[in-house]
């Protein structure tokens, strides 16, 4: 049996990290929408993330973002002084950004789950085909072997193009 525990953990860790990057992008967008003090936040993100671009550091900078969210709330008083409409439109923009983030997160989780299922199925398909072809004797069996190999190749390409590597 092929062990894929480490690869599955890696794949899911990568999935979480991509979700974290999406979170950072959308939070940055929402902070920009807030304006004011938020303008000083984005430059901190690149400095928080090491040049190596390690996901854990990016995650940390993302985790730091929510705690920074309250800071933009210092902006509203100044914004409110200018126009109540600006504050409500800012709130709507933040809500829209949150909803978009939630959708992106769900899509990422679904995609990761689908790819994990496809990779598992592909591995089983490959094993079955190997055993089938090892048993193939007459021409009918050989036809089944050839057909199975074609299916595996097509499935492998499908998985590769959608999910990348399974390992």
């Amino acid at each position: 049996m092929t062990s894929t525990t480490a690869s599955e953990r890696t794949r899911h860790a990568a999935g979480r990290s991509v979700a974290a990057v999406a979170l950072a992008a959308l939070l940055g967008l929402s902070l920009d929408m807030c304006g004011g003090a938020a303008a000083s936040r984005p430059p901190e993100s690149p400095s928080a993330a090491p040049t190596g671009g390690a996901y854990p550091s990016e995650t940390k900078s993302v985790q730091g973002q929510p705690s920074e969210e309250p800071t933009p709330s210092a902006a509203p008083p100044a914004a409110a002084a200018t126009s109540p409409g600006d504050a409500s439109s800012g709130a709507r923009a933040r809500e829209a950004a949150r909803a978009e983030l939630a959708r992106a997160q769900r899509d990422l989780e679904t995609a990761n789950s689908d790819c994990a299922a496809a990779c598992r199925a592909l591995a089983s398909m490959e094993r079955a085909t190997d055993h089938l072809c090892a048993l193939a004797g007459d021409s009918d069996d050989q036809s089944r072997c050839d057909d199975a190999r074609r299916k595996v190749l097509a499935a492998r390409e499908r998985v590769r193009s959608t999910c990348g590597s399974c390992q």
């Binding site: 062990s3 769900r106 689908d114 199925a121 094993r127 089938l132 090892a134 299916k151 499935a155």
Partner: protein, 196 residues
Amino acid sequence: MKTTSLYVLAVAGVCALAACRNEGTPSGCPAADTSAAPIDAPVMAFLSAARALHHEADVHESTGDLEGASAALARLVALPAPAAVEVDEVLADAHARLAELGLRRGDLATGEREVRAGLDHAQGATYFRGHLLEVEGRIEEARASTFADAGRGPEAAQARARAIALLDEAVSVQEQVIQKALGTTDGGTHDVDHGK
């Protein structure tokens, strides 16, 4: 082990759902899908026990103790099982693993019995059914080899033909699983019935 990771995923997913429900606000949690059935405590308990027993089986298997691994998995499939899709999947997978262990020990009768039990929990084109068919095909392959070694040609040919049919069915099922998972609408899908 890949099977342990399957349950780590399942239990992690279940725990994540529970954590989200326990929070005062849904912030940070995926939006609730009100159309989906909630995972209740008995199911969560079963999944947790299953993960622990798979891990125990992993430990035994890592030392070459296939009997010990089988004993742990036998306890898993004997657990009181709440009615849930996740539970059926866990049981199907556990029976498949038991069948593979039987195959590795040369106990083909146990392997076949476990496949049969697993198929009761795996209907339709799912990975779990495909995997069980794959294992059964490999069991028949081993049976064919045993017959051939014993000079029982006709039985060997019969077992070999059955092995090929099962493995071919497994390929078709997994092809459908991949198409379903990745949204492919290619042809080549067909329903196959399992039967002797």
